[in-house]
């Protein structure tokens, strides 16, 4: 053990799992520091479909995950109500779905402890009139819509209250180990300034998700990850009020999740060698729309705002000695805590892999149980008992609240930087007060800037001017990075109105403003944009 350690535990990865681990460590009295190579919630947690699983999706293929999901579903509703919109969910059998799956479903749900109540079709179609009229059976399950950015921020805020620290734009570049192989320190590089820094510690938890294999390699351990790319489409309005799932084995385009003013159609599942591969292919888009048609006929004629992909932190089951499978959906989504001291001779190093965003807290608990025991800390986990900090309202974010607040001040557009998501200059200033080093893309995650139908055409230059006033010289690189990020998510769904919107955007940036000719010599340090986001 490292006697001169600055902290007890370094946590690598600023998604839901890492934030959950940090909070759990801090609540057990351990000194903990989280490092994230990009912005918080910019990896898989920020690139998922927004579904708080009931677990019913996995009752057949992965009963362990199913049970974890329903238990954590109840926990999160208790400790994080402000991040959850209780939409409810349905599993619906279309004429294309297999009879035997439908027959086994109720018993499998009961077995996993998931309440699945049959719904008369008339009631279903009254509640969800856009659904396929040929749906032949439906069950109501406790699915919900979950806001990942706020969930991660709440976990980080709680961790800070308990004395922990979290730093973003810190990439791990090296592990220091003692003669017996144990980890003694982690070396990180600040992705913006390039400065390097060594953090002495007694233990390290890698919560790097799909990137955990790369982190393990840096530590001298091996970890066979099998990242599963999942692509999703954002449609510009809510097609349904509740989450809709196909009553069939997991497949492409079988989930529709209402999220705020839009809905998300997901997902594909493609095993990719590189977790940074977030490219949505045309085949994936076609597959999603084709399958989406079976849930909501005509959905492929709707306006698609954006496509995006996340990288599932799937762990290659063959590495655990289980049966090997090529299809990543067949690999268990249940989580595994890996003690690399026992496994690879790298003492004090743990990886947490697999799992779902819904089960992040359980994953954190199991990890911290192991780490705490190794550090002779016996304090039990309390993360399921103590609610997360929440906004004063205690209710989920709703765009209508922003509109009401604007109207209470007299309404009008003068204060709005982003009209689609009603982001005022005051809100941007507040976000910059909180995290002054934010790029425009970071501000998007905290304020929803540029996430509406115009995908930033109007708000980007306005927000760049706000940023320039705060950090002279930083705005141009940030603007270019944000434009590239918005463009990446639009071009694979560029047809109809959204293609015309892209052309309007081009007309503004290249025609009127000639952004490509902007001077490239900002007086202060340039910003690093994350390639994956």
């Amino acid at each position: 053990m490292n006697a001169s350690a600055e902290v007890d535990v370094v946590v690598i990865g600023g998604g839901a799992t890492g934030a959950g681990v940090l909070r759990d460590l801090a609540m057990r009295g351990l000194r903990a520091l989280l490092v994230e190579r990009g912005d918080f919630t910019s990896g898989t947690s920020g690139r998922y479909h927004g579904l708080l699983h009931s677990g019913a999706r996995y009752v057949e293929s992965d009963p362990i995950s199913a049970r974890h999901c329903i238990e954590e579903n109840a926990v999160l509703r208790r400790i994080a109500p402000a991040t959850i919109e209780p939409t409810g969910g349905y599993f619906v059998a279309t004429p294309d779905d297999p009879d035997d799956y439908l027959e086994r479903f109720p018993a499998a749900c009961a077995e996993a402890g998931i309440e699945a109540e049959p719904v008369p079709l008339d009631d279903l179609l009254r509640a969800e009139p856009l659904l396929n009229r040929e749906i032949r059976a439906a069950y109501r399950v406790p699915d919900a819509s979950l806001e990942p950015w706020e969930l991660v921020d709440a976990n980080l805020a709680s961790a800070r209250e308990h004395g922990a620290e979290a730093r973003r734009y810190q990439a791990v570049i090296r592990f220091d180990r003692s003669a017996d192989g144990a980890v003694t320190a982690v070396r990180v590089r600040d992705e913006r300034s390039g400065d390097e820094n060594t953090i002495a510690c007694r233990a390290v938890v890698s919560a790097a998700g799909a990137w955990a294999g790369k982190v393990a390699e840096l530590a001298g351990a091996t970890l066979a990850m099998s990242p599963g790319k999942g692509s999703m489409l954002i449609l510009n309005r809510r097609m349904t009020t509740a989450v809709i799932n196909r009553l069939a084995p997991p497949g492409d385009g079988d989930i529709l999740v209402p999220v705020h003013t839009v809905c998300i159609l997901g997902t594909t599942d493609v095993t990719v060698p590189d977790p940074d591969d977030a490219h949505v292919t045309r085949d994936e888009v076609d597959a999603l729309l084709l399958e989406g048609e079976r849930l909501v006929p005509g959905i492929s004629g709707a306006r698609v705002l954006r496509a995006y992909a996340g990288s599932r932190p799937l762990y290659d089951a063959s590495d655990l000695g289980g049966a090997h499978a090529d299809e990543s959906r067949e690999i268990s989504r249940a989580h595994h805590v890996i003690d690399h001291g026992r496994r690879d001779g790298v003492g004090g190093f743990w990886s947490i892999v697999g799992g779902k965003l819904t089960t992040y807290r359980l994953m954190a608990r199991d990890t911290v149980d192991a780490v705490a025991a190794s550090l002779d800390v016996e304090t039990p986990c309390r993360t399921a008992d103590e609610p997360l900090p929440s906004p004063a309202s205690g209710t989920p974010y709703w765009l209508g609240d922003r509109l009401a607040a604007l109207e209470a001040e007299g309404g009008g557009n003068a204060e709005l930087i982003c009209e689609c998501e009603l982001v005022t200059q005051r809100r941007l200033d507040h976000a910059l007060d909180e995290r002054g080093d934010s790029s425009l893309d970071d501000l998007r995650r905290t304020t929803r800037l540029g996430m509406g139908p115009c995908q930033g055409a109007f708000c980007m230059p306005r927000a760049a001017a706000v940023l320039d006033a705060r950090r002279p010289g930083a705005a141009n690189a940030s603007l270019r990075g944000f434009m590239a990020e918005r463009f990446n998510g639009t071009r694979s769904i560029a047809w109809g109105d959204q293609l015309a919107e892209l052309w309007l955007t081009a007309g503004i940036f290249r025609g009127i403003l000639a952004v490509g000719n902007l001077a490239d010599a900002p007086p202060e340090a340039s910003e690093v944009q994350h390639a994956a986001s």
């Binding site: 009008g412 557009n413 003068a414 320039d468 081009a506 403003l513 000719n517 902007l518 001077a519």
Partner: protein
């Protein structure tokens, strides 16, 4: 039901100019458009042809005309006459311009602080053109007006490569009277306020009070009035005691609104008719000829018959061409075939670089006729083969093709008045 010699579809620069010229030549013209067009997105200058290597617009036209399948390949000869006719038309409506095809293309500042190459500008933007004679550039923003970014633009311009540019670039933010109480502050709202002489006097003196000492040219947001624009601009220069130029920012573009209104007035004054706001829902044909279009009017469809038809509905941006999710491209009025690159090459990786898909459009014969429909001419951004943003040639092609179509239709039986 309306009947016309020529039915023009689309109200952008091409459609409006074509309808105006036909009406001036005595044709019975009906212009139908589904909505306001891309004039409202523009910076207000005239992009005739400014590809990167061209010193003048004339050189630019020559370079573009040498490219296979560029519209200038067949339109270069019309550039002089069409630009001259356009500038005369604008002048007659009170919108004077400066510059010519032979004027040097020089960098003028944009609202974000980059330099855009231009040669032909409305008078109210002329002071942005070099050479600068030792004056400084002072950018003025208005308090609470979110689309003028004077300090940001000034910082960018101080770092720009700007040979022969201003001696110094500065920025100042001015609170205009009453703006603190206004809830909606859009460019056209401010433009209307500037039309009011009493408010204008107070607003201009507020700006004058904020001016630092020195010899300046002053860049103001492009909101200096609508139909009284010339008077507002002259007033601004007189009160401020410096040359003043407008800088267009995010849409709606007030210079574009003025252009639209000037051409609209011109068409109406010459006896043409205009219907804006309704889509074409049906096309009547007889063999390879179009007999009539039907538009979706307020309470029933309206049949508009004509001897000739001009398609000026624009490209993808103007919504004349629409992509389906399977990647097919549809010309929305007549269903003409669209020439475009294969779908896997539609985009470049960088949003600031030209995308191959920008060249999508309709292929035409040398007199702009559709090979599929013998009495349909195609003009403006509906034409295939140009990268209008990078080549900065959209306005020039719009004017030259509008002029070519109007001239050729005026010479046929269709307009035998």
């Amino acid at each position: 039901m309306p009947r016309a010699d020529v039915v023009v579809i689309g109200a952008g620069l091409a459609g409006l100019s074509c309808a105006a010229e036909l009406a001036e030549r005595g044709a019975r013209v009906f212009l139908a458009a589904k909505g306001m067009a891309t004039t409202h997105w523009t910076h207000g200058g005239l992009d005739v042809a400014s590809p990167a290597a061209a010193p003048t617009s004339r050189d630019g036209i020559r370079l573009l005309a040498a490219m296979k399948s560029h519209p200038y390949r067949i339109l270069a000869a019309d550039a002089d006459a069409s630009v001259a006719a356009h500038l005369a038309r604008m002048a007659s409506e009170g919108l004077e311009h400066i510059g010519s095809l032979d004027a040097p293309l020089t960098g003028i500042p944009t609202a974000i602080g980059s330099l855009r190459r231009a040669a032909i500008l409305p008078l109210a933007q002329a002071a942005a053109l070099g050479p600068w004679d030792g004056e400084g550039l002072l950018l003025v923003g208005f308090g609470r007006y979110r689309d003028a970014w004077a300090p940001y633009a000034a910082r960018n311009l101080r770092h720009a490569q700007w040979p022969g540019g201003p001696s110094v670039v500065a920025a100042v933010e001015v609170d205009l009277p009453g703006l603190e109480r206004l809830r909606n502050i859009a460019p056209h709202v401010l433009a209307r306020m500037f039309q009011d002489p009493a408010w204008r006097t107070r607003a201009l003196s507020a700006i004058a009070d904020a001016l630092p000492a020195g010899a300046w040219r002053i860049g103001l947001p492009a909101v200096l009035g609508l139909d009284a624009h010339a008077e507002v601009h002259a007033d601004a220069e007189c009160t401020l005691g410096h040359r003043v130029f407008e800088m267009a920012s995010l849409p709606p573009s007030v210079p574009g609104l003025r252009l639209f209104e000037a051409l609209r007035r011109r068409i109406l004054a010459s006896g043409g008719r205009i219907q804006v706001g309704f889509d074409v829902v049906e096309v009547e044909r007889s063999g390879r000829r179009v007999i009539a279009i039907h538009t979706e009017a307020a309470s029933r469809t309206l049949r508009i018959g004509g001897d000739a038809f001009v398609l000026a509905t624009g490209g993808i941006g103007g919504a004349g061409i629409r992509a389906r999710h399977d990647g097919t491209l549809v010309e929305r009025v007549f269903g003409l075939p669209v020439a475009a690159p294969p779908r896997d090459r539609w985009f470049s990786d960088d949003p600031l670089r030209p995308h191959p898909l920008e060249t999508a459009g309709i292929e035409v014969t040398d007199d702009l006729a559709s090979p599929n429909l013998e009495n349909v001419r195609v003009i403006g951004s509906s034409l295939s083969g140009m990268h209008y943003l990078d080549e900065r040639c959209g306005d020039g092609v719009a004017l030259a093709s509008a002029h070519r179509a109007a001239r050729s239709l005026a010479g046929t039986k269709a307009v035998a008045a």
